[in-house]
Symmetry: C2
Subunit: 425 residues, 2 copies
Amino acid sequence: MSIPTAPPSGFRDFLPEQVALRQDAIATITRVYKSFGFQPISTSAVEDLAVLLGKGGDENEKLIFKIMKRGEALERAHAEKTDLADLGLRFDLTLPLARYYSKHGSTLSHPFKALSMGPVWRAERAQKGRYREFTQCDVDIIGADSWGAEVEVITAILTVFKTFGLTDVKVHVNDRAHVKAEIEAAGIPAEQQNQVCIEIDKLDKVGPEKVRESLTALVGAEKAGAVAARLLAQGAAAPANLKTISDAIQAAVPGTQIAFDPSLMRGMGYYTGPVFEFRHASLSGSLGGGGRYDKLTEKFGGQPIPACGGSIGFERLMLILEEKGMHAGSSNPDAVVTVFSDDLRGRSLETATALRAKGLAIDVYPGGGKLKAQFKYADQKKAAYAIVIGPDEAARGVMQVKALKTGEEHALTLDEACARIAARV
Amino acid sequence: MSIPTAPPSGFRDFLPEQVALRQDAIATITRVYKSFGFQPISTSAVEDLAVLLGKGGDENEKLIFKIMKRGEALERAHAEKTDLADLGLRFDLTLPLARYYSKHGSTLSHPFKALSMGPVWRAERAQKGRYREFTQCDVDIIGADSWGAEVEVITAILTVFKTFGLTDVKVHVNDRAHVKAEIEAAGIPAEQQNQVCIEIDKLDKVGPEKVRESLTALVGAEKAGAVAARLLAQGAAAPANLKTISDAIQAAVPGTQIAFDPSLMRGMGYYTGPVFEFRHASLSGSLGGGGRYDKLTEKFGGQPIPACGGSIGFERLMLILEEKGMHAGSSNPDAVVTVFSDDLRGRSLETATALRAKGLAIDVYPGGGKLKAQFKYADQKKAAYAIVIGPDEAARGVMQVKALKTGEEHALTLDEACARIAARV
């Protein structure tokens, strides 16, 4: 059986231009987040399964790529028919952050504004636009119960979008605590509240009629009507805290469109208060989102600590940027120095070193052979110039500098070559 | 049982200052590598086990963190008692590169100069300075059989070290093909050649006497003597190709110390020609290394393609940089804008937005409460200034700007504040 050359299903290779664009985007996001005072943290890709799983397993268990035990531990697990896996790949950056803060919180500033970026892995069925390995870009504020935290997180993320030229991002906001109170007021018993939330969450996809039908099937017509009147009616009033948050965001980022969306739930079970989502006309899903999760650190045995965070859907952002025709800053070399012969390779290398010392990006042809192939290589690398140092040039202490676009060629000294290449003459 | 707050054994969390230093170092390495014309590529963290394993398994199998099959595939594997794992975490960047090139080579420049950075995972016993997750920084040239490729890779890596101020890095070089020829000439039969290499490789650690003893035990005194005379004798002459490579490197990076080291093997089984290693006085191990591997792409069913690559030991480089007291470029905010009251939070947010628009890094206190705690926060964040906008200031259209080092305080307009903060007056 031949060995595959493609990455596994749902995983991706990136070509040099894609990598450059992604790295530029990551650098921009980092810069904007840092300008808000968020501090970068980093956790491992691999976590103990106990960290990733809820007590007694949960809905997330299916998402986790589990890592098998090794050596004696694996043999013992086989023999004793216990769990074969002990570790797993993180499926988001929020659980690792809660663990991290529980461990290191006392050494960090308070409140702590965390910036966390990196790949996460989900064992979901791969499909167009949904990958099993993708990048998340999170900001979180831990230790602040003020609505100022929500404002800061949402403002930072909106500023990232604005920096990329996306000024038409709309913010949807809701409050889980408000939803919970309204559902309770509608007489829904505790054990049905989660399911009611899940049905309400489908509003965007299936419309109000279908939601009402499934709520009726779930809790009866009367209670379904009460829920609908409280949460799905046109013009339902936003709770006061969301109004405050919206006003403050509009003060910080004038012109921002914010909509109260009483059906917005966001999937993660750990949200306890305001939740939010970023939408863009060119996407059917969201461009990011987040919310308040005041109890997540309880899991690690500490006091509940108020926290709020948000995430940019990096892969979706990249889709939009690619559609907009955004290109990475050039990583093409300024010049390729050809190698006339093995005897003269030393001269080419010295020349390259001297040109690099002046701040130029200089590629030396790494193979041997004919100049024709070397010029083709310079074209492939999208270099602006090719440099030839043959025996004549070596003897005269010059180099031939050829502009690859125009074909114009000059015999130049090092300083002359440097000036010409830097000025793109 | 309580849930751990530490990462799993051999894995690490990084505090904000460490992350900043690591990110700065990665950016510097990337910049230098790119200035040599290397192009960034990226592959997935997860590979099919068939890609990671040699035909019929090999010495690397124990290194691999294996990922369990999921859903029906896992049930089937349990029922049919077949392999429970189908994927694994990459343990280096070279095998993934060989796969990548086999898939994408026709769309890449030729020869292809690849820059590959990222985490790799090894299921080794964790110990001081050896981690199960660590970063590699590789450059490779694929499709060049010229010794120019070795020179380019080694020169690029030396230039990285030099950029960090490490001018005292010594290069050790050897040639696997030369070793193989000498061992054959000493009469060692094919099936013992690998073991002989492994014994020679121990020279640095155990000294020549011990190596000779174990060689004698392995192949008898006569052949052991012949091997020692050819490879371990003082002043053994370097083969001509290594001399050429050394001369060219010294032309490109004047002052480089290069030593022929006939006992240098480098672990990876895929090397076929010159191998090299970077040493620094402050480390017992190496600071990086690499070599020529002309047959690795054969694994993926293609023609053998000449290739050569090298890697920087990023974690060891970080150790040296930390010892040298290197700090990251500041990611501290220029100022923290305090929040006098919830009523005035909007003013603080607008002020922060206006200051950020002038290029300053501005942190708004994300919580509520007393100014004293907010000033403490500004100290923790190592901000240069704290800004207060109370009712008086709001009415007068100014802000109090306090230099946290000196305690000096002024009521300033936006433009005045911006000028003062930017100038660090």
